[in-house]
């Protein structure tokens, strides 16, 4: 991707692995199998409407095409009777037929536009629904690889390029093609000699169009690439303006931006020049044909081998014969990007969730989760040769509060993710109340196990909305109670609109600590049997953390809890401490016993105490 953009670029932009979104250089217009399957599945419900649609457009085009033909008949057959003094009967008939054709064309065209628009919008809606739902079903492992940026562009720009095709391109293409074919036939019917002459340049034009399509695909791609770089650089400069200004980055940024902007301009210039050449070519051939028809047709008319009306019809038809060629070509880029989009979307839809829902879900023994967790010979590896957890056995009785301690990469977070079934173990089983997690359906599992992490996402909406996310049916009172229980009530009531304060995009109007407290309230409201806190208190300042910890004592009293924290203050409320190292549990016991035993935990704890009292 970066090979075309020069060496100076690569040096600042750095190297990254190929963007998986990019399709091979020649995006085939012939859709690949899976795109075709998707398209087929989407359109199948509309088979009858599509047949009707085809009929409508054929009638509409025929009516439209008949008009110049009728004009020629009017001239050839309508005028002589007038000259002979036979009255305007023929002329009036022809004019009446023209008006009728006009009406038919208008009605069928409106019907066609409405029908095709409706089918298009239904298809889009269905596609949006399918893709969105599928993304939500796909496992976390998929999302971690795929990244949110790509998910967003699948559901926005890709869908929009298909919408664009349906909106502007499709109607134009169908009409242009039908008009061209119909006109060609009519010209030949009107007068075979003159018709053949008028169609002589056609093969040449088809070749020219093919050349243009190829060139335009290249230019179009370059334009998109260059504009993407401009946009990225622009947005990053603006969102990171604090760093830009603090580090006097402006001149270098300007230099880079102007270079990118120039690249974009050059790509655009290529497109405009190509368009100019193509349009000129079409017009030139059209004009030459008109000249030729005039010469040859004039010659024929001179010898009474063709009527003047036919000649007039030819001149009218030729205008509408070559012009659509431009539309078809402009349509090509739209078609190309839409088919590339469809290809990507069909790829996403064929991804299988790596953590699938069970076909035959099992209930929990007592109907409601109690919170006993068991790891049986669990092995987990992202990459087969490097297991994060080689072989883990662990039982956590219901109601116990366990603190997980260990350095980065010891496997603490992986263990937590296995309990919340963001991943499935490579080998072995994870059980909740004796039932394999893989056999629990989603509502049961998510009702029983909730994980709060350091990155706690707030959705746009009010504080209350965000707390209620934990249990959508909860009443206002329950929302308040939850906030009170974890000590968030005070800060929330101090906000301008209390619980109805908008949190802003991604919670932007809240501080990191406030977001964290809301996330806690949300988890508390969900009332799970098993609560996992992964570094959940690290962005709180000390007073808030203290507040949360006091709350945690009550919150965790009757449920199983797994707490991961770098700072050992959290450990104080644990019944049991697990020290992990390279995927294995190396120390296990109540905190006071471990401290007394002078092991690894005792050392960590002493260091922590030192840092506090110094």
């Amino acid at each position: 991707m970066s090979t075309t953009t020069g060496s100076s670029r690569a040096s600042w932009r750095g190297v990254a692995s190929e963007d998986q979104d990019e399709l091979p250089e020649k995006v085939s217009v012939l859709l690949r199998d899976r795109s075709r399957r998707l398209l087929g599945a989407l359109l199948r419900p509309y088979r009858k409407q599509i047949a009707l649609l085809v009929a409508t457009i054929v009638v509409s085009s025929a009516a439209g095409l008949s008009i110049p033909f009728l004009v020629s008949i009017g001239i050839d057959e309508g005028i002589p009777p007038l000259a002979r003094g036979d009255g305007p009967a023929v002329l009036l008939t022809v004019v009446g037929v023209i008006l009728f054709s006009t009406l038919v064309q208008a009605v069928t065209r409106q019907a066609f536009l409405n029908m095709s628009g409706r089918i298009g919008q239904n298809t889009l809606l269905e596609l949006r629904r399918r893709v969105f739902d599928h993304f939500q079903r796909l496992s976390l492992s998929f999302h971690e690889k795929y990244t949110s940026g790509r998910v967003i562009s699948r559901l926005t720009s890709d869908i929009e390029s298909i919408a664009e095709l349906l909106q502007s391109g499709f109607d134009a293409l169908v009409r242009a093609l039908l008009t061209m074919v119909g006109t060609a036939v009519l010209l030949l019917v009107l007068d075979a000699h003159l018709g053949l002459m008028a169609l002589v340049p056609l093969p040449l034009l088809l070749l020219f169009t093919r050349w243009f399509r190829r060139q335009s695909a290249i230019v179009y791609r370059r334009t998109r690439e260059t504009v993407a770089l401009v946009i990225v650089h622009f947005v990053e400069s603006m969102t990171g303006i604090r760093a830009v200004q603090a580090f006097r980055r402006e001149p270098r940024n300007q230099e880079i931006f102007e270079q990118l902007n120039d690249d974009y301009r050059d790509a655009n210039a290529g497109g405009m020049k190509l368009g100019a050449t193509f349009m000129t070519g079409i017009r030139l051939v059209g004009n030459l044909t008109v000249g030729g028809v005039l010469l040859y047709g004039g010659y024929l008319a001179l010898h009474d081998e063709v009527k003047v009306g036919v000649l007039a019809a030819f001149l009218l038809y030729l205008r509408q014969f070559y012009e659509p060629m431009q539309e078809v070509s402009q349509f090509y880029n739209t078609l190309q990007s839409a088919s590339a989009a469809l290809e990507k979307l069909s790829g996403v839809l064929e991804e299988e969730p790596s953590v699938p829902e069970p076909r035959d879900p099992q209930p929990l023994p007592q109907g409601r989760a109690r919170g006993r967790i068991r790891f049986e010979h669990v092995r987990f590896a992202y990459v087969e040769e490097m297991p994060i957890l080689p072989d883990l056995d662990l039982t956590v009785p219901a109601g116990q509060t366990v603190a997980l301690v260990g350095s980065t990469g010891a496997g603490k977070t992986t263990l937590a993710k296995l309990i919340s079934r963001f991943y499935d173990p490579t080998e072995g089983r994870v059980l909740l109340d004796g039932v394999d997690l893989r056999t629990l359906d989603e509502p049961t599992l998510r009702g029983a196990v909730v994980m709060v992490t350091q990155e706690n996402f707030l959705f746009s909406g009010t504080v209350a909305d965000n707390i209620r996310f934990g249990r959508p049916g909860a009443s206002d009172r329950e929302v308040r109670e939850a906030a009170k229980a974890i000590g968030a009530h005070e800060f929330v009531t101090n906000l301008p609109d209390g619980y109805d304060t908008e949190v802003g995009k991604r919670g932007g109007r809240m501080s990191a600590g406030q977001r964290q407290l809301i996330a806690f309230a949300r988890a508390f409201l969900a009332d799970p049997a098993v609560l996992i806190l992964d570094e959940a208190t690290s962005s709180l300042d000390v007073p808030s953390e203290r507040l949360v910890q006091r709350a945690l004592r009550t919150i965790l009293a009757d449920r199983t809890a797994l707490i991961i924290a770098h700072r050992l203050s959290t450990v104080e409320i644990a019944d049991r401490v697990l020290v992990m190292d390279r995927g294995e549990i190396v120390e296990d016991g109540p905190p006071d016993r471990l401290i007394a035993s002078a092991g690894r935990f005792a050392g960590l704890h002493q260091a922590w105490l030192d840092s506090l009292s110094s």
């Binding site: 064309q105 409706r118 902007n261 017009r283 980065t408």
Partner: protein
Amino acid sequence: MPPDTDIPRRPLLSSLSSNSLWRMKSYLRPYVVRLIFIWLSAIIGIGASIALPLISKQVIDGPVYHKDAGALLPLGLLALGVGVVEAMLIWLRRWAQVKPVLGLETAIRDDLYQHLQRLPMRFHGDWQSGQLLSRATTDLSTIRRFLGFGLLFLVMNILQLITVTVLLLNMYWPLGLLVLASAVPIVWTSLRFEKRYIRISRQVQDEQGDLATLVEESALGIRTIKAFGRRHHVYDRFDDAALKVYDTSLAKVRMSARFFAFLEVIPNVTLALVLLLGALAVGGGGLTLGALVAFTTLMLQLVWPIASLGYILAMAQEAMTSADRLMEVMDTVPSIESGTETIDRPRGHLRFEGVGFSFPGADRPVLRDVRLEVRPGETVAIVGPTGAGKTTLTALVPRLLDPTEGRVTIDGHDVRDLELTTLRTVVATAFEEPTLFSMSVRENLMLGRPDATEEELAEAIRTAQAGFVHDLPWGLDTRIGEQGLSLSGGQRQRLALARAVLSRPRILVLDDTLSALDVETEALVEEALRHVLRDATGIVVAHRASTVLLADKVALLRDGTITHVGQHHELLAEVPEYRALLAQDADLDDASEGALR
């Protein structure tokens, strides 16, 4: 809520909205010669395109009617010649247009970017980057399209309309009048349609924007959604928004279906009437046969110029709005202007002298009467509860914000009198939420010092414990940030720290830079920082006792002002608020203390 309303507009602008667009003309100045050429070729082109039907008329009325084969050839050749000339003129005009049109767009975009980089943090806090982006892309394209094509077509279409109508009137005035009359409903409907179409298109766009926000949230918040099993809840929200887009899009489809169907009715009805009246006239001898043929051809040539008038006028309107939106940004005067003084040998003596800060319109100041002195080489930790104004305080030093009261001085110079480059060379900040750009690691680190050597780079990486960068797939050339490899919060903080250290500032500001590091890494980073801070003046915003220990003294910030300055252990012993903030075990109840000790 776009901040358009927050930014004061110049009164002239709102009253004379075409003014902004007119102001863009200076960008076209370098291309005057080209522009004249373009206009000339456009006008000649119109002449040529009108000539073709007229030649057809001559052919029918002359050689064909009089059976004069000799006259046919010159007329035919003339038609061919005119055809070639017309095509060539199109090519020349379009080719000549490339430079001015794109030059205008590129120059304005460059200027906009430059201006935005100069505007202070305050401005960027009010404006989301998306809004700025839409000005740099969508609005600019609208302006480009209008100035480059729309304006030309507007004038050309009107010219063509007038010429052809005059021709038609001249040829046979009753039919000419008829054609002229038929233009009225088309223009009127087009204008009305365009207005409504733009409105409904905007609505679709807005609704698509709302949908995109939901998509964004569903992608970024996927962990939270999964953790709570709220797939269906999120889907329902999405579906509601998608249905809204669907309904509006259908209304849009219906509207344009009606319009486009109608658009073809009028010319065809006119054609029928022209045929009727024209044939009668030919029968009556008022019109030649060739003239009737030419008439029908010319008339069809008018359909597009007439129909597109509405479209182009709507485009003009949009371009004016876009120009206003653009100028709104361009007219914002940077509130932080560079001073003129420089410091030859900065020592890093920092003083806050009675500093106050409040956001405009806020009833409570963020900072008030802050007095603090940091001597060269000294490091001060700023401790305070959330919302006390710690980050605002640190932003005053490199002038990301200016105080509303009092002054900040470095080596006796008011920072507002210093050249911005000088000031920001003296001061470097590592922020709590580090900003990484989609560039190589090296470029990201050398943000503040493009001329750093490899050794200095390696040294900074060592200091910040950011050795992991050497293990990235392409080492220091690996692209990171949004468009590259994603890094953990701790890794990003370490890079931000390395960046600040590399710029070798006299004054180093660490705004809670270590919060995302694990205990062991934090200890290593702190150890290394101690060396860096030995030489530089330091301001460290701290939440943890361990970070405070980097400093020589601590300042306690409460309710926007500094209440205590002293040693960590002194404050711990004497100031209860300080104890409450930093002593983790300050008032835990006895039971847990007993359990631990």
